[in-house]
Amino acid sequence: MSGYYRVEKLGKPGAYVCTDNFVHDAESAAEDVGMPRARIVTVKAEDYYRLRGTDAEIMPVVKAVIDELIDGLKRPLTEKEASTVPEKEDLGPITVSAETYALAIEKFNDIYLERQWGDGLTLLPPTKEAVQAMLKGTNRSPDEIIGTVAPKNGVATIKKIAINAVMAGAKPEYLPVIIAAMEGITDPDYDDLHVMTSTGSFNFAIMVTGPIAKELNINSGIGFLGYGWQANSTIGRALRLALINIGRVWPGVNDMALVGRPSQQFYVFAENQEFSPWPPFHVTQGFKAEDNCVTVSSVMGASSHLLGGGAVATWTPEEILENSVRMMMEPRWGMATWKRGSSNPGPMKYILFFEPVLAMELAKQGHTRASLQKILYERATIPYKDLTPAEIANIQPRIDSGEIPKDRISVFKDALKPGGRLPIMDRVEDIRIIVAGGIPGYSFGMTFWREGLYAPTSDQTKLIWGATKTKAGR
């Protein structure tokens, strides 16, 4: 809708075309850009997606809307369409009265869930007292603005984050972690819009690193992405509620994930530092080893790639490295059409979850994170002789548009010669190696585009600070 708006603002009448199942999304986006009465013409989703394969098949769908499209450009604006009077909103407290406390809780939940201010599960009431108690988990000002949350750019203050944390059942000592995660999500360089609204089932992986993870009992062992751990579950739920309420996102309205976002409370876990042979992950992002951090990453939610390990099949470190390379090569299908800002924006980044035994074995062989990144990067390459003309043709446009970083251009140019090998990734740092899980554990990988569609990055690491109830993170 933002593109449509740009041209309308330049004085040209237009019509925005979408399927009927996306009309709420289009209306919401129109409101966001300041043109709530944009002319929107819908085609039937059940026909469009089924028939869009050829010119001939799609023609009945076009015929059904062509007059409406023409009419959208010709018909004069109504008084309502031409109106520029905004609607006002009350963000004040809400009073709920009932005969018993249980009935008041029920009534409060009815109101909040009806207004789509929850995640569908029972909420705890964010009374002034409960929110004040939550805010005691940090020494940061309740009025401090952390950033704005997509898609409607709602302002995330520490107080608003705390209100949502209360509703989620989080403890005050978790608040500094939740705030740091929100700092990552709202960083202007981080593309939260795409991961929150896309038709793909993308999601957030929220990793806590440093001593605070153990102090808060955040699971990093067996079942680390599963249920049962209060910190993992309620930190994730607090973040989910904050995004719903502060960003004002809702499934089927402006969150168009077609099968939803698996793991309602995101993937919240801790790095398994106890068994990791390497420094904490955040050191690779420029932080000190003794720091406490949260790393927020966009991931392809519905799919992870099993690399090996577990309690059934046998494995060797070399097999898992080879499986990692195989996974990294999968995105080659789109290599010939990678283009910044498009629905296929560019190369992936990879998060490799190495289970503790594998990590320790690799360390015994003398490997560091950096040495493994280098090995994997060099293996995940395509011999020049095997490149298709379309793949070769797409390199120069990516160089010209600045998508391939300047310091990597020579690597790509050298690869386009006999004997050369073209890397599947732009940078060696696009491979993230994390030690997580128990013993035994599975090693697996998650992927996402390195660059977002609407902002430059798809992960952020932020320092946890301001804690008052834990020794770490102060």
Binding site: G3, I70, R75, G154, I246, G341
Partner: protein, 124 residues
């Protein structure tokens, strides 16, 4: 007089004991529980509202731009739109554009210069 005083004292003690023995439970009173709950929504600042541009009642001799974000299959839909527009508005020129979800300022400016009206679709 003395008997009356004893009687009053006894009644008073019973009354006090009666109320003192009642369970301390505000649930028994109608609408006795009131929760003041805070609003979890973030404040949003909507941009100043703009109405859509003035329409063109007669498209004869005008140029219509068709923008598509290159999402697979959309090209077939827009091919059909172009074909039918040419049939229904034979004196109208059709210009095709494609690019990212948001076409960006540069292409928007070019499209606005080159066309009189436009249709915009991003694949969903």
């Amino acid at each position: 007089m003395k008997k009356t005083g004893i009687w009053i004292s006894t009644v008073t003690i019973f009354v006090i004991l009666f109320f003192a023995c009642q369970p301390v439970n505000s649930d028994l009173d109608a609408s006795d529980v009131t929760l003041h709950v805070l609003n979890p929504r973030g404040e949003i600042t909507l941009p100043p509202l703009s109405p859509p541009s003035t329409r063109i009642p007669d498209l004869k001799g005008k140029k219509i731009g068709l923008y598509w974000n290159e999402k697979p299959g959309g090209n077939h839909f827009w091919n059909g739109v172009e074909q039918l527009l040419k049939e229904k508005l034979p004196e109208t020129a059709i210009l095709r554009y494609s690019g990212a979800f948001d076409l960006g300022d540069e292409l928007a400016t070019r499209m606005a210069k080159e066309t009189d009206a436009f249709l915009y679709g991003v694949g969903d």
